[in-house]
Amino acid sequence: MLARRIIPCLDVRDGQVVKGVRFREHRVMGEILDLARRYREEHADEVVFYDITASPHGRSVDRSWILRVADVLDIPFCVAGGIRDVAGAEEVLMNGADKISVNSPALADPDLIGELARRFGSQCVVVGIDSSGGDGRWRVHELTGDPSLSREAGRDTLDWVREVQERGAGEIVLNCMNMDGVRQGYDIEQLCAVRDCCRVPLIASGGAGAPEHFVDVFRRARVDGALAATVFHSGQIAIPDLKEYLAARNVSVRD
């Protein structure tokens, strides 16, 4: 049986790993390669590197660190941020990333999803969705890396989830903005609604604060993976302990 994935997310800015609260007030958490090594040794199932400054400022991610990460990691990793076209995606994949994740550029040009899927295969193409709302209605947000540019994208989240799958997305990362950085648990209601219309792997993001939050999101929202940053970077939750906790509660995890 497929293991539920535990995925540390490293928000990268200017070559360092940072983390903000509700997408604001970023503080430095450490060096990229040090954290990558640590997560490899802790048996993280995958690592996501997200350049939070790339998309809003019209810049591309600095690609030089990707090769160094690929050298260090013997587990899969995904790069997000600033990938706007097939050439940019190819460069990231050639440098050793296993997947590329697109968010704002896919909202600006939805055809990009299909172009990437046709060139590299759906399995490489992750679509990240920043979403907030409640009471059964959620809206997509864009350019969330920069508080001064972040805005609603004019799309209903569930519609966008359906559309990106039709266009060839191989995985969806749903970042529930209401819960991001506040460690009160994943947005189970929203994730359940998305799960019901998502036939590709679904990764939950935003809100992890305690081991029981992971049990909840795997059991109740039936997501394929759970992504978190602060609780892992700070050492508050050690991944081996978390996996033991999950296994004891009959959640299938890779030991």
Partner: protein, 201 residues
């Protein structure tokens, strides 16, 4: 350890991770489509990510269709590279290399079994193989694929995702793994090492 390892260029952008995995084992892989280079190598790796049709197209363009099935040194197909060892893939109805009998088909999607099959899954041993030396039965490996071959005569390890499929195959000097050993942590690294150290004349 065998030093002369040819990595056959059969499409797919992601080759850096495999090259790094070999480097961690002290081996430099040569990325090539040159028939002479491939024929002379001590070990041949057939990697590949992407569609079967595109992969076979690249092998056809490089005039490798007849060479690869005739190779006598150990050959390891990884992911798409394993699928290309079979007779045919239903992905775009693509005739493949025909080294291993059987057909590669699309896995069946369901709410519990999403496609692509992406993530860590367990390999259950079905027959002895030197590839498994030092790797416990039921170990986890990293998979990313939508198509797979049924467990057949040459299947030495299988995996369940909706249905059971062949995740490790071996026929004579040809080996295939449906997962990505270069992205499967310590066990993946050990499997690659086992392949490179296979006793072979």
């Amino acid at each position: 350890m065998n030093r002369d390892v040819a990595l056959v260029d059969c499409g797919g952008a992601n080759i850096a991770s495999l090259r790094f995995a070999l480097e961690r084992l002290g081996v430099e892989g040569h990325f090539t489509r040159d028939a002479g280079r491939i024929e002379a190598a001590e070990r041949v790796l057939l990697p590949g990510v992407g569609a079967a049709g595109a992969g076979m197209g690249r092998l056809t363009d490089a005039h490798l269709l007849e060479l690869i099935p005739r190779l006598t040194q150990p050959v390891l197909g990884i992911c798409l590279g394993m699928q290309l060892l079979y007779e045919v893939s239903s992905e775009d109805d693509t005739p493949c290399l025909g080294v291993i009998p059987g057909q590669v088909d699309l896995l069946e999607a369901s709410p519990e079994h999403t496609i692509p099959h992406m993530g860590w899954n367990q390999v259950e041993r079905r027959a002895e193989s030197r590839l498994f030396d030092g790797i416990p039965d039921g170990s986890w490996f990293y998979f990313v694929h939508s198509y797979a071959a049924p467990p057949g005569k040459h299947c030495v390890g299988d995996t369940e995702h909706g249905r059971r499929f062949a995740s490790v195959v071996n026929k004579d000097n040809f080996f295939g793994v449906q997962f990505h050993p270069e992205r499967s942590g310590q066990h993946g690294q050990r499997l690659l090492k086992n392949f490179l150290e296979l006793p072979w004349n």
